[in-house]
């Protein structure tokens, strides 16, 4: 006997693990070498900003083993641009990235030439033989130089300002005019990045006889990338298959369309031979989307009792050298999510997207939200201190309440896009988090010096958007053996899609999970139209599409069975997903009707977003002599709507939190004033290791299902990262309150904290 719907909500161990644990995953670089395969290596600009005089590839071409060298010249006058996937505004087209540098280079790492050789080693050897003569131009190294416009990235456009977004709600100037209390602050978050552990890779095969192209190494948004590549290569979409192998992490960065996603297929068609390219880590750090470099000059207006009246100001996002794929999302979100989970009736925030000679930006888990949580939560603690308010009560007073849902967020121009918080009890996660960390006990330690270290505590709240539309597709096939195959347009980037979707499908089909033959997600050939994995959308969108396909498949099964059982479809009952029973108990096994080729396509269309929400709290000890911060306890509490697999949701909460702590405490892509990346290895770009943050906990529940999709699910997996910067900075400020230290910039490295302590003590002495 089984109970229907017993799988959703169960901590099912993952099917993916069976191959990953044995080393049998198949990542793109693991694919077997093809006959006659060429290896690609890419010459990248070492100059941040310059005009290309010439690129001499003769010596490289002459090296034995080198088959060909490709530069922009080999594409005639038609060097394709990397398109905008999200916010494809016409204004951005002026700043599009050519897939290979044409006349200018605009960041260190930009592709100049592609060498194709019989081995990867020879291809790399040949890079050193290419002479790139580049006339250096003054590098635009930061947003101030960008705004000054003494040097222009795009002379023909005449400005380094790519766009300005604005978030509006109510009447901010009226609110500030009458406000009894106003505080203005400037904060900054640093450039850092997603850094999945698997570097990118591609293997392209061109079948000249059939005019077909197969590209392995896709991820995240296969269908959009196929559409892009089809246009660029002048092929029908149906002639291209993009295959997703096992993918070693995404976090927003992996799978977006990068220049190589054109260059490698182009090389395969040009040479008529399979071409493989595997990125090294240095290339990854220079070429994959960066994120998070934002600064704000923000003002808050409040009553003396602590009711927030308004928020206004300016923000500046360093978008790097080009606008590509999802490069505007972070900046857009900085505008929209400055208010976070709080009731702020009057908002006027504008965000300038400033071009610089650095790697272009894209989304990184919690885009714009990590930044604004830092800005806002820091500001809230400063206000609470000014007004003599309790930090927790101040937040509690201003959190959007359950009865205000759905709650309208600020409108973003130029899209006029509106959004609303869908559901939830924000006060409940705050209370639970305070309870779990034992706030009333721990807050007694605030600012105390114990054994040479100052203790600090902090709390902060967040919202996490999910469920981006417009659509997702699924198809379920009843196989000859009576089992079911599930095909989806969603993508797997390591999040456990195969297991979670099998749970959803099995419950919808009312079968045990071993009746699901597999969840297939890795190709543009499985469903007609897919949208992939971003904005925490897979469970809501793909899962709901599976529900739709399952309903339709069961109808089709009833229709087929009714013919065999000589009755009406409405009289057929499907029992345990394995047999169809008609009137009088006459039954037929589903495996005996599956030869009719029964399958059903399903879809889910959606224009609204889900909002997962929660609270973080931290307890730290700070050594003022060396600037070291030890995290003694950290609690994350979030409500992410209906939970499909509590084990995988919890795992993503913890994993995302540690990434957030990396962004708060250590990760930093440092550039010098010449636009040179100084952190081009994992010895320079530090991410958390097993010994950095041992003391943390996540409590994830689903008490408030989303009302806007049939599963009741919300996005999950980003909530851990979003509040980490703000909470850690507030905890450090709280610890060092006796010294008057107020961090306004991340990351909180020992050096930075030590400098803040030094500056604070010299200020005190000079007073």
């Amino acid at each position: 006997m089984r109970t229907v719907n017993s799988l959703i909500g169960s901590p099912i161990e993952r099917f993916e693990d069976l191959r990953f644990l044995r080393g049998r995953g198949e990542y793109v670089d693991d694919l077997a070498a093809r006959n006659d395969m060429l290896h690609a290596a890419i010459l990248r600009s070492s100059v941040a900003h310059g005009r290309i005089r010439s690129i001499d590839v003769a010596a490289a071409r002459a090296l034995p083993g080198v088959h060909n060298v490709i530069t922009a010249k080999d594409m005639g006058n038609r060097v394709p641009r990397v398109p905008m996937r999200l916010q494809p505004l016409p204004e951005f087209e002026r700043f599009g990235q050519p897939v290979i540098a044409e006349n200018k280079v605009r960041y260190v790492g930009e592709a100049l030439a592609v060498v194709l050789a019989g081995t990867a080693g020879i291809a790399e050897d040949a890079l050193g033989l290419i002479e790139a003569d580049i006339e250096p131009l003054p590098a635009v190294a930061d947003r101030h130089a960008s705004a000054a416009e003494a040097s222009l990235l795009f002379e023909e456009v005449g400005s380094n300002l790519a766009m300005r977004f604005r978030a509006l709600r109510g009447d901010a100037s009226a609110a500030f005019a009458g406000a009894p209390y106003i505080r203005r602050e400037r904060f900054r978050t640093q450039r850092h990045m997603a850094l999945p552990m698997e570097p990118r890779g591609l293997l392209a095969e061109w079948d000249a006889a059939r005019g077909r192209l197969t590209v392995y190494g896709g991820a995240k948004v296969l269908f959009f990338n196929r559409r892009t590549l089809a246009k660029q290569m002048g092929l029908p979409e149906s002639a291209i298959e993009i295959v997703e192998n096992d993918v070693g992490g995404g976090f927003g960065a992996r799978g977006e369309f990068y220049p190589e996603d054109f260059l490698i297929p182009f090389a395969a068609r040009l040479t008529g031979r399979p071409v493989k390219w595997t990125e090294d880590r240095r290339e990854h750090l220079m070429c994959v989307n960066h994120a998070r470099e934002a600064e704000c000059d923000v003002e808050i207006a409040c009553t003396r009792e602590g009711t927030i009246l308004g928020l206004r100001g300016h923000a500046y996002v360093d978008v790097g050298a080009y606008m590509r794929t999802n490069g505007a999302v972070g900046a857009r979100n900085v505008a929209q999510f400055m208010s976070g989970p709080y009731r702020i009736p009057n908002i006027d925030i504008d965000v300038a997207l400033q071009l610089t000679n650095k790697t272009p930006v894209g989304t990184y888990r919690g885009p714009g939200r990590f930044e604004t949580d830092f800005f806002r939560e820091r500001l809230l603690d400063m206000v609470a201190q000014d007004l003599g308010l309790d930090r927790v009560e101040f937040r509690r007073r201003n959190l959007v309440s359950q009865r205000e849902m759905p709650y309208q967020l600020a409108t973003i121009t130029p899209f006029e896009s509106k959004d609303e918080l869908d559901s939830g009890d924000y006060h409940a996660t705050l209370d639970r988090c305070l309870h779990e960390i034992k706030w009333s006990d721990k807050s007694k330690l605030a600012g105390k010096l114990i054994d040479g270290r100052y203790h600090g505590v902090a709390v902060g709240c967040f919202i996490e958007g999910g469920a981006a539309g417009p659509k997702e597709s699924a198809r379920i096939v009843l196989e000859l053996d009576g089992r079911y195959s599930v095909y989806v347009g969603s993508s797997a980037i390591g999040q456990g899609l195969e297991t979670v979707f099998a749970q959803i499908a099995a419950d919808a089909l009312e079968v045990t999970i071993d009746h699901i033959r597999g969840v297939f997600h890795g190709s543009t050939s499985y469903v007609g139209d897919g949208y992939g994995a971003y904005h925490s959308r897979s469970v809501v969108m793909g899962g709901s599409a599976i529900l739709d396909a399952a309903t339709k498949l069961r109808e089709a099964i009833r229709t087929q069975a009714a013919q065999r059982l000589a009755c009406q479809p409405s009289e057929v009952e499907i029992v345990d997903g394995v047999k169809a029973v008609g009137p009088g108990g006459k039954s037929i096994g589903l495996n005996s009707i599956s030869d009719a080729g029964i399958s059903a396509d399903g879809a889910f269309l959606n224009k609204k977003h889900t909002y997962t929400y929660g609270t973080h709290a931290a307890h730290v000890a700070v050594d003022p002599k060396i600037g070291h911060v030890e995290l003694l306890d950290y609690v994350l509490v979030e409500d992410c709507g209906r939970i499909i697999n509590p084990m995988t949701v919890h795992g993503q909460a913890i994993g995302s939190l540690v990434q957030g702590l990396g962004g708060a405490m250590m990760e930093h892509l440092v550039y010098d004033q010449e636009g040179q990346l100084l952190t081009g290895s994992l010895a320079d770009y530090l991410i958390p290791t097993a010994s950095d943050f041992p003391n943390l906990r996540a409590i994830v529940f689903g008490n408030h299902p989303s009302p806007i999709n049939p599963l009741g699910a919300k996005g999950a997996g980003e909530g851990g990262i979003i509040a980490a910067g703000g909470v850690m900075a507030n905890a450090v400020a709280n610890a060092l309150s006796a010294l008057g230290v107020e961090p306004r910039e991340l990351p909180l490295t020992p050096t930075r904290i030590w400098e803040l302590v030094q500056a604070a003590s010299s200020n005190k002495q000079s007073v």
Binding site: E16, G23, A33, Q652, A683, P688, S691, D692, L696
Partner: protein, 166 residues
């Protein structure tokens, strides 16, 4: 130049360029693609294999240096029949998501537990701090390794370098 070594109990002979790393030799010459390459400069630990009993970064070792060595990769620590106790523990504790760092975690943890079956959490964290994971936040990996210690106790049976084959 020709190199002979044993990998996962099997004697192999390969003809390699002197500059070929052991990682690339295992992956592309011997098709043992469970050993992953994440940084090629010895920081991430994804390419960790066991060479003569010690956990080693195969991206920092040349294939020619492996001449005469006994090498175990993640494939050698696995069986078709069922997961090993260490692998089962990883699955139970959800100690992997994308799976890319996992082979390096398994080989590193196996080498540690083989030598120090009584190690504590701090020791596990210290040893694993040479293996980067971007998905899990490490907490479940540490729990998985600690939970697998029982399988490495001498009384649990004979231990060999080929791992605890189930």
């Amino acid at each position: 130049m020709p190199v002979k070594f044993r990998v996962n109990g099997r004697q192999v002979e390969v003809d390699v360029e002197p500059r070929l790393t052991l990682a690339d030799c295992l992956r592309h010459h011997l098709r043992l693609t469970g050993t992953h390459v994440g940084c090629e400069h010895g920081v991430c630990g994804a390419c960790t294999v066991i060479v003569d009993g010690a956990a080693v970064r195969s991206c920092l070792m040349l294939a020619v240096q492996a001449d005469g060595a006994e090498i175990v990769t993640v494939e050698g620590l696995s069986s078709d029949a069922e997961l090993t106790p260490l692998q089962k523990s990883f699955r139970k504790h959800h100690a992997l998501q994308c799976g890319f760092c996992t082979p390096g975690m398994i080989t590193t943890a196996h080498a540690l537990l083989s030598e120090e079956p009584d190690c504590d959490a701090a020791r596990v964290r210290e040893v694993l701090s040479g293996n980067l994971c971007r998905c899990t936040g490490y907490i479940p990996i540490v729990e998985a390794v600690l939970d697998a210690r029982a399988a490495y106790q001498p009384k649990a049976g004979t231990r060999d370098r080929g791992g605890d084959r189930a």
